[in-house]
Symmetry: none
Subunit: 142 residues, 4 copies
């Protein structure tokens, strides 16, 4: 619990590009409030070591978030979450940004389960029965 506010969990074999997994996890951490504007992110090098991936990949993720105004780099000091960060996309408030993303994730979950033959009404029960299992092939920080 003393680790960084953004903990990264990468799955290099699930088809989603690694730099995109990193972007998503930073976005989620910001939206959920675990990371606040002004917070400092891990350096590219330290993250690269932790996650055992190419520093370029992290640089690309940070770079894209910077272009979108979500992160800001201060040379010689580090990378910080920008003040306007919570307003991801076209959201007008932090709450709305979080809520949108939740609806989006929820929507594709319900749709996937429908495609697998499960009705929305069956899902709460299914979730209650869910026990976190083994991760397949995952690299985590901390």
């Amino acid at each position: 619990m003393a680790g960084p506010a953004v903990s990264f969990t990468l799955n290099p074999a699930n088809g989603v590009p690694i730099y995109r997994q990193i972007i998503q996890q930073i976005e989620y951490a910001i939206l959920s409030g675990r990371v606040q504007p002004g917070d400092r992110l891990p350096t590219i090098r330290s993250l690269a070591v932790d996650l055992k991936i190419n520093p370029n990949t992290i640089a690309r993720a940070y770079g894209e978030l910077e272009i979108r105004g979500i992160l800001a780099t201060q040379v010689g000091s580090g990378t910080y979450v920008s003040d306007k960060a919570p307003l991801l996309g076209e959201a007008v408030s932090a709450e709305e940004g979080l809520s949108r993303k939740i609806q989006e994730v929820l929507g594709s979950f319900v749709q996937d389960m429908k495609a697998l033959g499960l009705d929305k009404a069956e899902l709460p029960e299914l979730i209650r029965g869910y026990r976190e299992g083994e991760a397949d092939d995952v690299q985590k920080t901390e």
Copy 2:
């Protein structure tokens, strides 16, 4: 309800390659039993017209599933679900295959929600409150 057994819904802007979306929807339809071994899939050309994409893209999806033994094609006649299809991956029975996939989808949903700051206990309530909205930018068959 009189439409084809596999209905396709594509989201061209979510980063997942189109041919992979098609593959997934066929797999899910087979796992859920909506499509049975021996069933004929839509022709490449008709699907291409319906989904407004290039026939080669459909052919690629069908082709990968054929290499994996899930589909079988008879040139001049069409593409069919193979007899051994329900045993996707290393599953030893159709039920096990479906169950595995459900756990997999469920797992990443719970994990995503956790990253957005929601605890597992909050999810059933969230789902109950979910109203199906119209998706953003989606192409469907039918």
Copy 3:
């Protein structure tokens, strides 16, 4: 003898699709041990230039072998022989895989010759008399 471990020889006019000829030659090179797990294959583009064919055709061959678990690609780096590659098909050992394929090729040779009126007993003599001629219309690497 200092060339690449897989040398490709295509016959564009024998009815066998080019991408299948490539697949076969990679398989044979693996089965015979000339190419080992972990070895890097020629890049798609360089092979395309060498063989004077479209890069997509090479990509298709590599792609099918990847789906079958025989190759693994690392984008930005290249295409490699997978660790489990020698166990092609249902073979349980590299030796068995090679032996099976040899019997298969041998079987169709004997059968073809029988259809041409030659008995098995005549074949050893025939082979001894065989002088390697120049092939008709062939494209080779190197």
Copy 4:
């Protein structure tokens, strides 16, 4: 031994189109002398029944051989091997036609085996040790 002079052995799953397998077997039978000019071939319908395939497929094989002057159809009477049949391709004598085909088959056999790591010198021994095994998945006449 009382069957037709051309006995057909089809393998629907080896990638070679069925009509091409039929053409090859007729060619081989002619080249080897098992079938002589003037001999009558089985009717399309009877062959279709024997081989359990679509009559169109046989019609196509016969049709192609007719275009090449190897077969001749007499309406109402049947299909016959033409007088000039043994001169397949550009061969100037029946012996030369047979010899060419034998060299061709032999050449690709030696090449395949070389690709599998076997030297020409090892092949006679290999053939002597060969025992005809089970056919995989084959349909034969008679």
